[in-house]
């Protein structure tokens, strides 16, 4: 039962991925010509022969969609072949194997996203429990104001403001940068992690609070209270547990994306992870890297969905995947 459900889910996901890959290909080559990529890679002074050679080396000398002589010898077919066989090839910007890039970039990304995740989730759930518990008091109202304020500010402002205030004016942390050596890595991660947690907190607390408040109004919670359970027990056992599904939806969905990194945080803090690699690929017309990242992002999304579905079954015996 569950197997057929999962297979169907994965099949739909597969179709989505194929669509994403087509969409990316069309969009990218709508605005960029392969010669642009070559010129970006070889520099302004590169003579036409060097450009032609580069295009041939990278397979960009074939027709894009249709080749009457050899229907499989097109850029689109090659695009699908490479992605579906996980043969990512080499970067268009500097010829480094993309698989190696991924191996190197995943660690800095995880160094940022895992602490971010581990700090954010418990902190947001804890604060949300507190404000839900104290709903209708000044704490709750102040919490709402602060959360809405925090949600209204863009991440970019947090980053630049944080770098300016904590890095430049107060000199607590390096403004940006990264060094994986254990003696210094914490210095570089402290500020982006703090900013990431702070920037995400408003929305997360609001969301979890809504979930908790809704749950506290339920019959079983009233019954628990009527049976004389303490408020703490009510919150932790009856509210928190039953709110697990929406929390899980939020949390499990983000886990696969821990690997693909944080676009803005990484690129503004100069963390050489997969997020900043994606941004660089966009700036550098590096199609080979960009499509790999988009492809992996789409796969992460599918994996996230399947994992979420599975986790429902684990936490709630009422849920059946059919």
């Amino acid at each position: 039962m569950i197997v057929t459900y999962l297979l169907r889910r994965i099949a739909y996901g597969g179709l989505t991925v194929l669509g994403v890959l087509l969409f990316l290909f069309v969009l990218f080559f709508l605005v960029t010509a392969p010669e642009d990529i070559a010129r970006k890679a070889l520099g302004e002074k590169a003579p036409p022969e060097a450009i032609a050679q580069w295009l041939a080396n990278h397979g960009y000398d074939r027709p894009r969609f249709w080749n009457p002589e050899a229907p499989t010898e097109t850029m689109l077919v090659e695009h699908y072949r490479r992605m579906l066989t996980f043969d990512f090839g080499r970067s268009d910007a500097d010829d480094v194997p993309i698989a190696r890039r991924l191996r190197e970039g995943v660690w800095p990304s995880l160094a940022l996203t895992v602490p971010l995740f581990l700090f954010e989730v418990p902190l947001a759930v804890g604060l949300a429990l507190l404000v839900a518990f104290l709903r209708e008091t000044y704490v709750d109202r102040l919490g709402v104001i602060l959360c809405v304020l925090a949600m209204s500010v863009s991440l970019l402002l947090y980053i630049i403001g944080g770098q300016y205030l904590l890095g430049k004016l107060l000199r607590w942390f390096p403004i940006s940068g990264f060094d994986p050596r254990p003696s210094v890595i914490l210095r570089f991660l402290a500020l982006p992690v703090a900013i990431g947690v702070l920037a995400g907190l408003g929305e997360a607390v609001r969301f979890y609070r809504t979930v908790f408040v809704e749950e506290t109004g339920r019959d079983h919670v009233r019954t628990a209270r009527a049976k004389g359970a303490s408020e703490g027990r009510v919150m932790l056992r009856h509210v928190l547990r039953n709110a697990a599904i929406p929390i899980l939806t939020q949390v499990v969905m983000t886990i696969p994306f821990l690997f693909t990194g944080a676009l803005l945080l990484e690129s503004f803090f100069g963390i050489p992870g997969l997020g900043s690699m994606t941004v660089e690929a966009i700036h550098g017309n590096d199609f080979a890297t960009l499509r790999t990242m988009v492809y992996l992002g789409a796969l992460a999304f599918i994996v996230g969905q399947v994992l979420t579905d599975l986790s429902y079954v684990l936490v709630d015996p009422r849920v059946r995947l059919e």
């Binding site: 000199r171 607590w172 403004i175 940006s176 940068g177």
Partner: protein, 682 residues
Amino acid sequence: MWAGGQATRRASGTRAVGLLVMVALPCAVACTNNPYPDEDTGRRIFYAAYAEAPKTLDPAVAYSTVDHMVTGAVYDTLLQYHFLERPYRLVPGLLEEIPEAQTMPGGRVRYRLQLRDGLRFPPDECFQLSEPPGPWREVYAADVAFQLMRLADPAVNSPVASSFARIVDFEDFGRRLDALRESGSAFANERIDRQYAAAGGIAGVRVLGPRELEIELRAPYPQLRYWLAMEFTTPVPWEAIAWWNGRDGRDAFAEHPVGTGPFRLTVYDKRSRIALERNPHWHGALYPERRAPGTIYPAEGEPGDREAGRLDPEYVGRPLPFLERVEYRLDKEDIPAFTKFLQGYYDTAGIVEESFDRIVKEGALSPEMAALGMTLEKTVQPAIYYIGFNMDDALVGAPGGLRAKRLRQAMSLAIDAREFTRIFQNGRGIPAQSPLPPGIVGYDPAYQNPYRQPDLSRAAALLREAGYPEGIDPATGRPLRLTFDTQDTSARGRLRYQFFVDAWRRLGLEVEIAATTYNQFQDKVRRGAYQVFMWGWVADYPDPENFLFLLWSRMARSAGGPNTANFADPHYDALFLRMRDLPDGPERLAAIAAMRAVLEDECPWIPLFHPESFALLHGWVRNAKPLGMSFSTLKYRDIDPAARAARRAAWNRPVVWPAWVVLTIALAVLAPAVVSAARRLR
């Protein structure tokens, strides 16, 4: 009940302590803005930022400033430029002396290259392929020949291959190699040195002995010497190409240099950090007693060097290099990089556009910055920006005859390049009078191009002479319409081009900007469908040939060359060919002056300006003199670590009180909440 209360309190106490630890621990270990490990403070390490990662470290391909940042230090060149003297002067590098051209029958020319004794490649895994295998190996003339074959190899795709085409058999070697590779994949997978041997090598490159090499050219090409001063011709061991092939988990050669330079690459994490360390196998380090040029600090320079402290007796005659390590960090954005420079964590920085006026006042360092002990290094780059006319165009070009010439001259007189550099370059640039920038043989500071002194009334008179009185085209009775084809669609780009359009409008001309992308522009150029354009050129080497060839008819854009103006003048061409092959001297200067006169009268270009680069250096940096072109001068540089450590400490004391304020406010807000929550729980 009582016991339970105790337990809750203890638990919440533990939680509070836990929370404090969670907040305080990262702060305790992280509360410093020093981006470097503490043990590096006080060491002779030079720190700088780079905005874009190098694309390749293969010396046959590397062609950008950021690539040369590494390759320039890791690969030593056969010849090199004198560190301080200007105009640029070549001195020997890995070669014993500067090779002289020997004329041969049939117009051929021969150069004998003699490598220094005992040069070494540093220890590298790749030398296990050597015969006999070893940790390192000596440098032979064959390694230079090998690199020249790589330049000719189509698979290497060197951007400068065409510059070596005068070497006898150079291009044919590439063709033979290609044919062999196409004949079967077995050949293409052979070891690289065997492939080159099978293709027969380049006939014009002969290894005469372990350290002696002969290069034969089909025709004179004095500029070859400049190419010998670039990393393109550095010796490269074949083992490095065979071993570092990007297969079986090994790096590609483009990521793993094996060179003879004063530094070696120790960290190449190019998306965040690049580190170079002193190379103990460099010939300067192995044989300090030889006192070869470029291995000891020079004793003479140009006027002003002594005053600038670049001929400090403390350094003169001492063996190079002074730095023990060089650390480059990726910093893509200007502003954070500049802030780190102000904090003392980078030793040098460019100037951020946004704070230009804070840093530079009237072309000198502002008092505020000078008080921090900084210095400002200004260098005019060997480069030119110009507006060009398509000389194939019927209206503005050669087919238009005298009318078109007068039109070009009038348009030139309307442009005030000084004003342009003031507005768009923060004054960083000197108005150009001819294609030749300062520092290049043939540049004459006294020369004033009569059509480059802005004068609207003279321009109007010339326009009348051209038959367009007040800019009106008599054929239509309306202002003459021209198109300015640009390759920059940004708002900023548009603003720059508008400056010229406004200047020409004052003459009554109606110039329309046709802004397209680079590719569309290239396409227009290919089709010859353009009239007026703006372009720039940065020299590859400091020879007038490298500028004046931009107007040689053989280089016309319509033939795929960089002469985008399609200028074709038989007199100019004849002068160019003569000038190209002449040694520096009065005869060459006379030829250059004659060429300048042709350009002045014909006006295929409106020379705009030679850009000037401003670099900021902290007071503790010693012996920094920019070379203008991308040649590494790291081996001459030094820093004073004690002075730097003291400044850094003074500039970076953390401000702690706001932490206490925030903590107090948070507690004040949270405490009642926690109390009421606890009450409710009970």
